[in-house]
């Protein structure tokens, strides 16, 4: 059994989850508390990865980050190698796939915090950033953890966007979902089944965690 796809998937999903958590919680706070022009559009864009077919998402990422795009060229100038067909590309694809799950769940959690606690904190002399840090986010932490866990599961399981951006290079960019596809193509049922079982166990574990943290209470 080749463990590379599993280890790569865990590595990619872990980094992507951290990125999606930071962007997702930050974006969720902005959307929950901010009143600014284009908020509705930002909200729609952030949720797009849920409704778009992953291959379409991957296609857009290729257009935006490919070697002929300004962003792709900038990456290449800074890092020295292109973003597409690399592990970094897989991380970007997984981050974008995970982002809406982190963001939407965190936003709902932030909006469900009793605003009177925030009011009390302001009268305690706390500026807005400390109200967020000491009151809002800690009180929303269960929802935030649930969202990050869902994001991790999504990042771990991404196929379409990852295969478009990072390709299917065994030993380099082949994550577990892609390796499962490969194994099925080659008729290697044992390998496909084992990897599918591992992914399923992780997914069930994540859902149990999500359910535990989604239950009400502080």
């Amino acid at each position: 059994m080749d463990w590379f796809p599993l280890l790569l998937s865990l590595r990619v999903a872990s980094i992507a989850t951290v990125l999606a958590a930071v962007l997702g919680v930050g974006g969720a706070y902005l959307l929950a508390k901010g009143r600014f022009w284009g908020r509705g559009l930002l909200e729609a864009l952030a949720s797009l990865p849920i409704v778009l077919p992953p291959t379409v998402l991957g296609y857009y990422l290729l257009v935006v980050l490919g070697t002929r795009s300004p962003l792709g060229r900038l990456w290449e100038d800074v890092v020295g190698s292109p973003l597409v067909f690399t592990v970094a590309g897989a991380v970007v694809a997984a981050t974008i796939s995970a982002l809406p799950f982190c963001l939407r769940t965190a936003r709902a959690a932030i909006e469900s915090v009793d605003p009177r606690f925030e009011v009390a904190a302001r009268t305690m002399g706390l500026p807005e950033w400390r109200v967020a840090l000491h009151v809002t986010l800690p009180l929303a932490r269960r929802g935030i953890i649930a969202g990050v866990a869902l994001g991790f599961a999504r990042a771990l399981g991404d196929f379409g966007a990852t295969v478009m951006v990072a390709g299917n290079i065994p030993g380099r960019t082949q994550t577990m979902p892609i390796a499962i596809y490969d194994a099925v193509q080659q008729g290697d049922d044992l390998r496909a089944g084992t990897m599918a079982a591992i992914l399923s166990v992780v997914a069930i574990g994540v859902l149990l965690l999500v359910n535990r943290f989604s239950r009400a209470g502080v």
Binding site: R116, F117, V119, A120, A121, R122, T123, M124, G125, L126, P127, E128, H134, V135, P138, L139, R141, V218
Partner: protein, 235 residues
Amino acid sequence: MTVLSGCGTGGRAVVEVDASLHVGEFTVIVDLALTDAHGPVTALVGPSGSGKSLTLALIAGLLRPRRGQVLLHGRPVCDVTTGLHVPTQDRHVGMVFQDALLLPHRSVLDNVALAVRTGRTAERRDRARHELDRVGAGGLASAAPRTLSGGERQRVALARALAGDPGLLLLDEPLSALDRQTRLRLRALLRDVVTTGSIPTLLVSHDPDEVRELADTTVPVEPGRVGGDVPRGGS
């Protein structure tokens, strides 16, 4: 616009409000000029829903008026014509609500220490312990807020409001959710704390006994109208 002299009774200006506030369909006109000559505790007295709590929220900066201005200790903190709105955290007011609103994820000591405005962590915690002692809640420092009784919570909420060295204490029905015995005990504590510390205090209360015992001055409130002429020592 009415010019606020604020010192009609002599003494230094504490709160001057000449503003109107719109919340949904409801309009409140606030006309207040309190000085330290009115005594430390001024009570807003009137029927529920008349705008007393909204007035405290306006002074604290939690609401913006549609017209007028608010001055604290002679300093403008809100002026609609110039667009001035000093945020709540910079107004140096302490507030106690009907529900103590202690942060449920922090210990009692942390709740109070968070409100201390200056010093390093150890100093803030020392100051928080001092404030807890002052309200007779020194033994509760490490407790979680959910384990406290209603009276204990309000003591901690008072300590928290005092920890920020407020120039003005706003008490929004702080004792109304408590049983009679606890209310009487806390009433005495409140009076003691604000008198000893000479902290100007605005109290909203429905309880005539409470107003009689605590307030040096009362401000009559009618639905949609707060203040007007404030009788000195007129409770």
